[in-house]
């Protein structure tokens, strides 16, 4: 993985870097430390990353503006902050994790584990999806998302009402942050089960998931079992 740390206090940055290297050493392709977000923006333009550690003061509006921007990007963001009272809100924006300061190795390990997983866990409470529009990012309610279709390095978001948005994150990437009502039913599809109606069989013992919109989405064989379990509840 390609990691970027944005931290203005060099001592804290050193500590975080050391901790990350100890935990994930071999898997790190690159690790860069920068002191300001402006510098980070420039860096990201030319150097794609997978994981961002960001020291963020979340008591002012700027912090959440920034989160909105970052959530629209392709990489995962972990917020590192001394201020924990708005941590829950940060999760609603779709950050991968929130690490309080002073840094705890265990918590860091948990965060890195999240980065590695691909299953959508039920404990997440992401509420907003950030979509890039021109040079700004906009938030939409995740409850309006019917399903996501994935490509190599992008995802198409199907929003209720017919709108279609493109996102830089892959489906695998989304799996790490989407809440539990979303389910991967196909290699290239994640569905919001709130919009699911029933499973239908089609020709050739293939399954399809019927949505409230009337669309039928093919269900991958490996994913059928879980889908069946979930829809039977």
């Amino acid at each position: 993985m390609r990691i970027l740390i944005v931290e203005d206090e060099s001592v804290a940055a050193r500590g975080l870097e050391r901790a990350i290297r100890e935990l994930a050493g071999s898997r790190i392709v690159s690790l860069k430390v920068l002191g300001s977000f402006t510098a980070a923006e420039y860096f990201i333009q030319d150097n794609p990353i997978d994981l961002l550690f960001l020291d963020l003061q979340l008591h002012e509006r700027d912090g959440f503006e920034l989160l909105t921007q970052l959530a629209a990007d392709s990489f995962q963001t972990i917020v590192v902050s001394a201020n924990t009272d708005r941590a829950i809100e940060a999760f609603e924006y779709g950050v991968l994790d929130f690490l309080p300061k002073p840094l705890d190795r265990q918590r860091l390990k948990q965060a890195m584990d999240r980065f590695d997983s691909v299953t959508i866990s039920s404990g997440r409470n992401m509420k907003y999806l950030s979509i890039r529009k021109d040079d700004r990012a906009e938030l939409i309610d995740l409850s309006r998302v019917e399903y996501l279709r994935g490509g190599d390095n992008y995802a198409m978001i199907h929003i209720s009402g017919g709108a279609l948005e493109r996102h830089r994150k892959t489906l695998d990437s989304f799996s790490k942050i989407l809440p539990g009502n979303f389910l991967r039913i196909h290699k290239s599809c994640i569905v919001n089960l709130d919009y699911a109606v029933s499973i239908r069989t089609s020709a050739g013992s293939r399954y399809e998931l019927e949505l409230k919109t009337g669309e039928n989405i093919p269900v991958g064989r490996t994913f059928y079992g879980e889908l069946k379990q979930r829809t039977q509840k």
């Binding site: 206090e9 060099s10 804290a12 002191g35 008591h59 001394a82 201020n83 840094l103």
Partner: protein
């Protein structure tokens, strides 16, 4: 009705005889009296009745013969001429306080029948059980007789004389009793009323007033002679002492009451002192009057009565000037009392003659006065209530104000603490300490110590509106130490020509430095702050320069600046200003504080 004609018994005396026919129902003997002042008291009846002394008796011209405090013995003679049948007439001496009255009645066979009365005798020895002295006179048919009366008294000597028949006596008494009954009834009701009020309200003014009323009522009873008749008929000695003692007693409580009613202690302290002195004199005179001569006792009582009235009137006047409401009723009441008492006192000293007004004006006046005083008391109560209410309102307002000011200062303290002891600050510092622990434990220790110092100092200064510049610099330096160790940079604060003793609100410079680090010194490896001060005539300008880049507008919008604003505005309302701009190789923030010429504000101590 048969008429009787009598002539005078003397050739030269000018007084006419009392002719019963002319007074069918009886009347005053004053116009028919001859009076002789016996200065050495040695005159005998034989001599008095002799021709030699006949011309010495002077015709009385007073409505009521009144001689004040006289040491003399006075003889009065009158002739009763009765043209008609024999009658029983009553000679009434309407002054109960005469010590000795001797009546010489010419006996049929020559000589004189002598009868004696006076307030030195037991009451039951009186011929007729009456508060006045009454002698029965058996007037023969078709006779003309001259009677002699000899008076002596230690007190006031006056003798209103009346000769009436029994029916008239009874009728007059009847009327008198009703009038007196009404008067004493009023007093009794007032006394009971105030007693009840005293028990209900507990205000001592009612008690003093009650004692004054009962004392005054007793005084009147004594003056009317009713006290002797009903209260202590067997104690002539006490009867004689009772008047002065009761006067002192009554006025003692009267002064007490006046002081309470007019609230002199609080409102007119000078009056209060004078009244207190008067009160003490009165109290001391009570036991003294037992040993002093009656004459002295009575005359001093009369004098004190006048003194009392005048002093109290003056005190009331001053109270009125102060605008004390109850004083109005008091003054009105006291005019009446004053008039009555002064008149009575003057009559006692013989300055003015005895008259219906001097005798009864006193009682009428006092009845009116007591009613007005009761109203005054009620008014005082309502004034007190009003004052209490407004004092209560005032105290609520004060406590509200105080609460608000306390809240305000607590809020300032809270602002300061919240701004400077934030989790962000503490956690980041601890985080850095943990990192240092692994790299260079000595630095971790330094950092933790600096954190402890800063926290302790901030807590200490949090509730002070001002701290010395010296303390502020110290706090800033500790903070810079922390920042240096967190950022692994060098931050320093240098000072030049500062007056370290000057007092400024806490954490102003500290906040400016923080802002400087956050916004201007990101790029630099070293952050050097220089704080200087320039004193102009009416103001001081602090310049804080750092070698960083511009902070631009960012400075004015953060919570840090809001803190500075509210602190400076509170300490120097409208008299401060901050501007910032580029300086040589850096950035400068200037804080200007203007002094105010007038004092009364805690400013920089200059």
């Amino acid at each position: 009705m048969s008429t009787l004609l009598f002539s005078t018994g003397s050739l030269l005396a000018e007084q006419g005889a009392y002719i019963t026919g002319e007074h069918p129902r009886g009347g005053s003997l004053s116009a028919h009296l001859g009076i002789y002042a016996d200065t050495d008291g040695a005159l005998t009846i034989a001599k008095a009745a002799s021709a030699e002394y006949a011309y010495r008796f002077e015709k009385n011209t007073m409505a009521v013969p009144s001689f004040g405090f006289s040491q003399n013995v006075y003889w009065a003679k009158f002739t009763v001429t009765n043209p008609g049948p024999a009658r029983m007439l009553y000679l009434r001496v309407a002054y109960p306080h005469l010590d000795s009255i001797i009546l010489y009645e010419p006996a049929v066979r020559g000589g004189w029948a002598v009868r004696e009365a006076g307030d030195l005798f037991l009451f039951e020895s009186r011929e007729i059980k009456h508060h006045d002295f009454i002698f029965r006179l058996n007037v023969q048919a078709k006779s003309s007789r001259t009677y002699f009366l000899r008076f002596k008294s230690q007190g006031v000597l006056e003798f209103p004389l009346y000769l009436t028949d029994s029916e008239t006596l009874r009728d007059e008494d009847h009327e008198t009793q009703i009038v007196l009954g009404v008067y004493y009834g009023i007093l009794l009701v007032l006394a009971v009323y105030n007693l009840i009020l005293f028990f209900i309200i507990g205000d001592r003014a009612y008690l003093y007033y009650l004692l004054y009323i009962t004392g005054y009522g007793t005084m009147q009873l004594i003056l009317n002679g009713l006290a002797f008749e009903y209260l202590w008929p067997e104690s002539p000695r006490w009867e004689n002492l009772s008047l002065p003692v009761t006067v002192y007693w009554t006025f003692f409580w009267g002064v007490f009451f006046v002081r309470k009613l007019l609230n002199t202690r609080a409102m007119t302290p000078l009056s209060d002192t004078v009244l207190a002195v008067l009160q003490t004199i009165l109290l001391m005179l009570i036991p003294v009057s037992f040993v002093m001569s009656y004459r002295f006792a009575i005359s001093s009582a009369a004098a004190l009565a006048i003194l009392f009235s005048v002093i109290v009137l003056v005190a009331g006047f001053f109270s009125l000037l102060q605008g004390y409401e109850p004083a109005r009723y008091f003054m009105a009441a006291w005019i009446f009392v004053l008039a009555g008492v002064i008149l009575y006192g003057l009559k006692a000293f013989g300055v003015i003659p005895s008259h219906f007004v001097t005798e009864y004006g006193n009682q009428i006046g006092s009845a009116i006065e007591m009613c007005l005083l009761s109203i005054g008391l009620a008014n005082r109560m309502s004034v007190m209530n009003r004052d209490k209410e407004s004092a209560l309102k005032q105290s609520y307002r004060m406590s509200r104000l105080q609460q608000e000011s306390e809240i305000h200062s607590v809020r300032l303290e809270l602002e300061l603490l919240k701004k400077n002891i934030q989790p962000h600050f503490i956690m980041n510092t601890i985080n850095a300490s943990i990192v240092w622990l692994e790299e260079n434990p000595a630095l971790a220790v330094r950092l933790l110590r600096a954190l402890a110092d800063e926290l302790r100092l901030v807590l200490e200064v949090s509730n002070h509106p001002f701290i010395s510049l010296k303390e502020e610099i110290r706090l800033c330096r500790i903070h810079l130490e922390i920042m240096s160790l967190r950022h692994d940079k060098i931050f320093r604060l240098r000072t030049q020509r500062l007056d370290m003793s000057r007092e400024i609100p806490p954490l102003i410079i500290h906040t400016l430095i923080e802002n400087g680090i956050t916004h201007g010194l990101k790029e630099r490896r070293r952050g050097i702050f220089l704080l200087t001060e320039e004193r102009e005539n009416e103001s001081v300008v602090y310049s804080l320069r750092n070698n960083g880049t511009s902070t631009g507008d960012k400075m004015k919008s953060g919570t840090g600046f809001r803190y500075i604003q509210s602190r400076l505005e509170e300490a120097y309302p409208g008299r401060w200003d901050i501007e910032s701009g580029p300086a040589e190789k850096g950035w400068t923030v200037k804080l200007k504080i203007s002094f105010e010429q007038k004092s009364g504000e805690k400013l920089c101590e200059y």
